[in-house]
């Protein structure tokens, strides 16, 4: 959010209520999340909120959430990508094959090197696929819906060809840490401290920059309170997961990805163009924006993130299987929509999508603990999505 140039000095409480009102939708989601947690905590006699389960819950959402980060931009800019689940699946299979069959011939006993190479290759495959897909969509002008629908089949076939129908182990040393490992608690504390410092430094630098340009600053107290709130969230999270085994590696990867792309969305031309194109493609074109290039870049980024998700998936599951990533696109898209991304384009935030993904994961996880059969889990997931979006429509209408 761009900060308001406060025309007159405003009181801290004023500033906070304004901020709250401006992001009502996001806060409504956060409230929904808290309610869901509370509900499951009661239903499971507290097991749900144990450090172990919370740690698992966040871990479970990472693969789809990494892809949701890219999907927000895809949907915001007015496209859709149905191939993400299968693309990540294909990447995981490729990585598993490299792990099991290739690296130890070339570099025997070098498990760390193998893990690094697998990661690079996995991300490379995803990005390459994104480049091809992006080129077809942006420059050959086939609609994204059709191209990615076709991709689903193509990748399905590719997975079958690569695996020959077999399950391929990817649980080698070092590599398995990517999706399954935890950071030493000490590292957790250091990261928490680092993030807190960065949050406050960014805030102060931001205020300085604004002052340099002669803007009236929002109240210092409000700024500190806001920053302190986010800092507390981060510290709280680290305290919690450290009570189990420490920060989960895949969650750290997700956080890094989300922060970087979120920053890009707000503060780079690429990000701004994505939102402008989604809002009005004609006005954007006449404003000199390269529509095709931006569209291409969006799909390359999506491919890159599918690569990341695929590597995490191979490590997390420990195998490359023919079913890898099947149906994930639905969770990825649902997370975005739940998080307030408009299917009409132009509107949506990565933060919202992360909360959306967390809601989906929280519901699934809660039902699993309660031993609800998976058939009913699907039903509940579907209901949650529709009800949540209806609630959004309802509140918007009655604002």
């Amino acid at each position: 959010m761009t900060a308001l140039p406060a025309t007159q000095k405003e009181s801290a409480t004023n500033a906070i209520t304004k901020q709250l009102r401006g992001n009502l939708q996001t806060y409504a989601l956060v409230i929904a999340l808290v309610v869901i947690w509370g509900l499951f905590a009661v239903l499971t006699n507290g097991t749900y909120l144990s450090p172990q389960n919370v740690s698992n819950l966040f871990r479970q959402m990472t693969i789809t959430a990494i892809m949701s980060v890219g999907m927000v931009l895809v949907i915001v800019h007015g496209s859709i990508d149905l191939s993400v689940g299968r693309l990540a699946g294909f990447v995981s299979v490729v990585v598993a094959i490299l792990q099991l069959r290739t690296w130890h011939h070339l570099f025997p006993e070098q498990t760390l090197l193998a893990a690094i190479l697998s990661t690079i290759c996995g991300i490379g495959v995803g990005t390459l696929y994104g480049i091809v897909q992006g080129y077809i969509i942006a420059y050959l002008r086939v609609t994204s819906f059709i191209v990615t629908l076709g991709s689903m089949w193509i990748l399905n076939g590719a997975i079958l060809v690569a695996t020959e129908g077999k399950t391929i182990a990817a649980n080698q040393e070092y590599f398995e840490d990517i999706g399954q490992g935890y950071l030493d608690p000490l590292w957790g504390w250091l990261i928490a401290a680092g993030v807190v410092v960065i949050l406050f430094v960014t805030m102060i630098l931001g205020r300085r920059r604004k002052a340099k340009y002669g803007f009236t600053l929002p109240s210092m107290f409000a700024d500190i309170l806001k920053t302190a709130f986010f800092a507390a969230l981060v510290v709280g999270y680290v305290v919690y997961v450290n009570a189990y085994r420490g920060i989960q590696n895949p969650v750290l990867i997700l956080a890094i990805v989300a922060v970087i792309v979120s920053y890009m969305a707000d503060n780079t031309r690429f990000g701004r163009y994505v939102y402008a194109i989604g809002g009005n493609i004609e006005a954007s074109r006449l404003s000199g924006i390269n529509i095709k290039l931006t569209m291409f870049q969006v799909f390359v980024l999506m491919g890159f993130l599918c690569g990341v998700a695929g590597v995490v998936m191979a490590s997390y599951v420990g195998y490359g299987t023919i079913a890898a990533g099947t149906g994930y696109e639905l969770y990825v898209i649902a997370g975005c929509i739940l998080g307030g991304t408009s299917t009409l384009g132009g509107v949506g935030t990565i933060f919202g999508a992360m909360v959306g993904a967390l809601i989906m994961a929280s519901v699934t996880n809660g039902l699993q603990i309660m031993n609800v059969p998976s058939s009913w889990q699907y039903v509940v997931n579907g209901l949650v999505l529709v009800i949540a979006v209806y609630a959004d429509v309802y509140f918007k209408k009655n604002k």
Binding site: T7, Y213, T268, A276, A283, S284, I289, G346
Partner: protein, 518 residues
């Protein structure tokens, strides 16, 4: 005309949080007349019409609306109810389904049905009868999207009349029409009058009130100022009532001193990029000087927009001729390329082509020039905000702050946002395609002043306009277009409405020879 009153507003007041949109408005509309309503944007015209058409149902306003002597009480199904009562509105934005036929549109929601099956023969014969009765020249089987704006509007009117409308409200019906289509519309309205239909006519084009209306009501700031028979009024009276002060000139005097030639267009030809056989510009030549406002006049469809879009690199593919900027021949591959070379364009349709409505004023203003604020990858949002604020201030954009969404602004302020966006790119040549369309008199004046200032700073301005008075009031020279060609350039000193129209309609050849004989 009888003194039979069909509609009476009595002390109508409508309040929104923070604003009183209508305050104590009382006046009468007589049966069978064409009643003009004028006022600046925000004067309360739309609010009044929304009460009449049921958008604001009974009870959400105070005061009374008497229809045929009885109080109009529109309840829950208010919009439908208004239609059933015989009050129909033809909106400024046409509300037809483009992918179905004229007949289907007219009968949408009330198709003639026999046992659940649509009787198409009846539907089309009814349509034809209706169209014939009111002399609406539209083919009933044609798909709406294949029609021009004028025909679409006729369809819209037919749709209203098919509901047996007693009162037809026309909200700025001519804003998108060419001169010839306007004449046609006027004829249709006169025809409706003969059939006893009462018309309420809202417009920003004051001349039209004198062409067509029997009486005029002026609203200002939500208050009723005057209702008077049109023949007793003059344009100056209307303007005075509307702005609340006598406005001596509708066009501010500039101190423009055109300098050397900056842009030259020589015998330009261009074709539709999607259809090689279709030539959209068939020979245009003119030049533009620094600090000059060059008007481009012509009927709608004469190729004016196609011409400027070609110069801007966004539509036509140049097949012949040259564009020279500062004496050097240039090509413009696309809008980004044109901007780099110093040519900017304020597009005709600000909502579709000018603005990202769901985004903030700030984001809209800076959209075309983000590269200027970017270092490596990062956008310096403070610099962006600062410069945007300067433009917002100098162009007097009225908004609570720059984070307000563009869609929340009035038309005039939206246009200022679009102009700001293009000024940020520091153009040498600024093309403005119908810059004051759908904007009220007061804001128009502000936009004219801005144009003068820009020209005084040395920017060459090309202004397309559908209003001849505007062309004559603002230009230093006028290029007239007819059927995708430039057919003449007139110096403002000897340009008249008649001369321009003669050229624009292709009848100038005769008058020229006549002149020679003299």
């Amino acid at each position: 005309m009888s003194d039979d009153v069909i509609l009476e507003f009595k002390n109508v007041t409508k309040k929104f949080p923070g604003i009183t949109a209508l305050s104590d408005v009382s006046f009468n509309i007589k049966r069978g007349e064409i009643h003009g309503i004028c006022g600046e944007n925000g004067a309360g015209k739309s609010t009044l019409m929304k009460i009449l058409s049921g958008v604001y149902p009974h009870g959400t306003y105070t005061g009374e609306v008497l229809y045929n002597g009885k109080e109009l009480k529109l309840g829950d199904r208010s919009i439908r109810q208004a239609t059933e009562e015989g009050i129909a509105i033809v909106y400024q934005e046409l509300t037809l389904v483009p992918t179905i036929t004229v007949g289907e549109n007219i009968h949408l929601g009330k198709e003639p049905v026999e046992r659940g099956i649509i009787n198409w023969d009846k539907l089309y014969s009814d349509t034809d009868r209706l169209l014939k009765k009111y002399h609406l020249d539209v083919p009933s089987h044609a798909m709406v999207r294949h029609l021009g704006v004028g025909k679409m509007q006729m369809t819209e009117i037919a749709k209203a009349l098919s509901e047996d409308a007693k009162i037809l409200i026309l909200d700025e019906p001519t804003s998108a029409l060419a001169e010839s289509e306007i004449d046609q519309l006027m004829d249709i309205l006169r025809g409706l009058k003969k059939h006893g239909v009462t018309c309420i006519y809202i417009s920003h084009k004051l001349e039209e009130f004198f062409q067509i209306t029997d009486s005029v009501t002026v609203l200002r700031d939500g208050k009723h100022i005057v209702t008077e028979q049109t023949k007793k009024l003059k344009v100056e009276d209307l303007v005075r009532h509307m702005v609340g002060r006598a406005m001596k000139e509708r066009f501010p005097k500039g101190h423009r001193k055109p300098g050397e030639v900056i842009l030259e267009v020589e015998d330009l030809h261009a074709q539709d990029p999607n259809d090689r056989n279709f030539e959209i510009v068939k020979g245009v030549s003119f030049n533009l000087r620094k600090g000059e406002i060059l008007g481009i006049a012509g009927l709608m469809g004469s190729g004016r927009t196609e011409l400027v879009m070609t110069i801007f690199g966004e539509y036509g593919k140049v097949t012949q001729g040259k564009i020279k900027l500062n004496g050097k021949e240039i090509t413009t591959k696309n809008s980004a390329d044109a901007m780099r070379q110093g040519i900017s364009l304020v597009p005709e349709d600000r909502k579709r082509h000018g603005l990202v409505l769901i985004q903030s004023i700030l984001r809209n203003i800076s959209l075309a020039t983000l590269s200027r604020f970017s270092k490596l990858f990062r956008i310096n949002d403070s610099a962006e905000l600062k410069e945007s604020m300067e433009f917002a201030k100098s162009l007097t954009i009225k908004a609570s702050n720059l984070n307000a969404k563009a869609e929340s602004l009035s038309g005039g302020n939206q246009q200022k946002v679009v102009i700001s966006k293009w000024l940020m790119s520091k153009p040498k040549v600024l093309i403005m395609d119908d810059p004051t369309r759908g904007i009220d008199v007061g804001t128009k004046y502000e936009i004219y002043k801005i144009m003068n200032q820009l020209a005084e700073q040395g920017i060459g301005i090309i202004m397309i306009s559908s209003e001849l008075e505007e062309v004559l009031g603002m230009s230093d020279r006028v290029v007239v277009m007819h059927e995708d060609r430039s057919v003449g350039t007139l110096d403002i000193a000897d340009a008249t409405q008649e001369k321009i129209m003669a050229l624009a309609t292709g009848t100038a050849a005769k008058s020229k020879t006549r002149k020679v004989k003299k």
